[in-house]
């Protein structure tokens, strides 16, 4: 009997551990929605999402410029980071000698652990003046923020892609080489396609990190709440919008910041669903011939 009780207890404790994080996330989302909805209602959801003007002092709240800012910075960062990380991952997984890999991999993983404020500080002190001198303007811009984001998402995408590439069974590689394929043909036609689902997972995680990043972006993006005319002009991200104004927001303004959080959550959910769907389709059709 005592043994049965023990089993029962262990099972319940494990269950609790498993669902506690989900419960906490649901509580946070519930709270954000509860606090944000009043602003959405008062301003009107469409006016709030597509409104071009963010002027808290006049109680005008439109987050569209920030949506553009967030998506733009993320997209630019991915354009830089994805090819770099994939080529880097291929190098580490397939080309680099063992000792080199043993040094490079942990170094790259360490990059993922550096606090974002350090990246932001580096950007502020080094990158912003560099951009100012070479591209003109203030140096605070969407491009500057994207470059910092690139460095921040690179380790995530690279190390997950590298794991995916290395997890491809050696049998595939040998089969390809035995047919007279070169190393590069084998990577391109067999190893890379087989690893693609894992690589996409890495890109999704990198995307999440890019769109959720706050501190480093605030420090280099310039943060003007208007749609930038070019990537060399300042922009504000959704995350920055909340962080910059939460210290003094009251009343409707306070609710509007939570509503910004709702928009951010929705965007992340949409991105996750879309990319997961692509990934899922890819997995199913992986044998259907994609050469």
């Amino acid at each position: 009997m005592a043994r049965n009780w023990e089993e029962f207890l262990v099972e319940k404790v494990l269950l609790l551990a498993a669902i506690s994080s989900i419960i906490i996330i649901l509580l946070i989302i519930g709270f954000v929605i509860q606090q944000g909805l009043p602003a959405m209602e008062q301003v009107g959801p469409l006016n709030f999402i597509f409104g071009m003007d963010w002027s808290p002092s006049y109680d005008i709240y439109g987050v569209f410029p920030m949506i553009v800012g967030s998506l733009g910075m993320m997209a630019l960062a991915l354009i830089f980071a994805v090819p770099l990380s994939i080529f880097g991952a291929i190098f580490l997984a397939e080309v680099a000698p063992k000792t080199m890999r043993r040094i490079l991999k942990p170094t790259i993983q360490t990059l993922a652990g550096i606090p974002s404020v350090i990246y932001g500080f580096f950007g502020l002190i080094v990158l912003v003046p560099f951009m100012r001198i070479h591209f003109g303007g203030s140096g605070f811009s969407m491009l500057t923020a994207s470059i910092i984001l690139t460095v921040m998402v690179l380790p995530t995408i690279l190390s997950i892609s590298e794991d995916a590439l290395r997890s491809i069974p050696l049998e595939y590689k040998e089969a390809s080489l035995a047919l007279g394929a070169t190393h590069w043909q084998t990577i391109k036609n067999v190893i890379f396609p087989a690893a693609l689902p894992g690589i996409v997972t890495g890109i999704i995680l990198g995307m999440g990190r890019a769109i959720g990043e706050t501190m480093a972006v605030i420090m280099v993006a310039g943060n003007t709440p208007i749609i930038p005319g070019s990537i060399l002009e300042p922009a504000r991200a959704l995350t920055s919008n909340i962080a910059l104004e939460m210290g003094y927001a009251l009343g409707l303004h306070y609710n509007a910041l939570f509503a910004t959080g709702i928009v951010l959550l929705m965007m992340i959910i949409v991105l996750l669903v879309v990319t997961n769907y692509i990934n899922y389709k890819r997995k199913v059709t992986v044998g259907g011939g994609y050469l």
Binding site: L177, A178, G180, G287, G289
Partner: protein, 252 residues
């Protein structure tokens, strides 16, 4: 003696300090089946993988001695490994089709060698699948994933993929060890059919298989060839006591 396609002389191989093959001499006759038998770890797979230089990917691998393919040393610096592997194909122990369609699996070798003519690819894929006795089973589902085939079908697909690039020699590393008896019979029938056109070297743990499929046999033990010659001779009246002990199942 028949026409010899591969001549191995004084072959020694090493992984790091461990000496795997010791002074191996072996002639492989053209368009015949040669079996390599011997207990696990005797070096027969290493020997097989030395013939298409698959061991090259292992940095600690070292080879001494001569391996002549049609009189030309295959480890010479001016030999292109890609060309060598085109001439010396390989079928592995575990069926290992690519996670691609059946058609693409067979077309793969042709594509990497620069053939992108759709009509020609279709023709060659069909011919190879027919030759591998798989065509009738897959002709209506060429675009389906090869992963959906049974183990025996996958192994015949791997053979079709190998013969598609028209090699001269096919190395088979225990091709039936992961298969059921019926699939094994099909592969053996296939080997009989293919031997007229290709030189086949097969590693096997199955004594009956060696007697069924091969004309010549070499018996490996501890990295050395103990006995070699006509299969019938080796299995009926072996010269060496160790060969007799092995084929009668006294060890290994």
């Amino acid at each position: 003696m028949e026409n010899i396609i591969i001549e191995v002389k004084e072959l020694n191989t090493y992984f790091d300090e461990s000496h795997i093959l010791k002074d191996v001499y072996l002639d492989i006759p053209r368009n015949a089946v040669t079996s390599l038998i011997g207990p696990s770890g005797c070096g027969k797979s290493t020997f097989l993988r030395t013939l298409n230089r698959m061991n090259d990917v292992i940095p600690t691998f070292k080879k001494e001695g001569t391996i002549l393919l049609d009189g030309k040393e295959i480890y010479d610096p001016d030999v292109d490994v890609v060309d060598l592997r085109k001439r010396v194909g390989m079928v592995f122990q575990k069926p290992n089709p690519f996670p691609k369609s059946i058609f693409e699996n067979v077309a793969y070798g042709l594509r990497v060698h620069g053939n992108n003519d759709k009509k020609d690819l279709e023709r060659r894929v069909e011919a190879s699948l027919k030759e591998a006795a798989l065509w009738d089973e897959v002709k209506d589902k060429l675009d389906d994933s090869a992963m959906g085939l049974s183990g025996g079908q996958q192994q015949r697909l791997c053979i079709a993929r190998t013969i598609a690039v028209e090699p001269e020699v096919i190395l088979m590393d225990e091709p039936c060890s992961a298969l059921d008896p019926i699939s094994t019979t099909k592969i053996e029938d296939l080997i009989h059919k293919l031997k007229n056109e290709f030189t086949i070297i097969i590693v096997t743990h199955n004594m009956q298989q060696a007697t069924r499929v091969s004309k010549y046999t070499a018996f490996f033990l501890h990295g050395e060839i103990v006995e070699k010659g006509l299969t019938d001779k080796i299995f009926i009246e072996p010269e060496d006591k160790r060969t007799e002990d092995y084929i009668t199942g006294r060890f290994g």
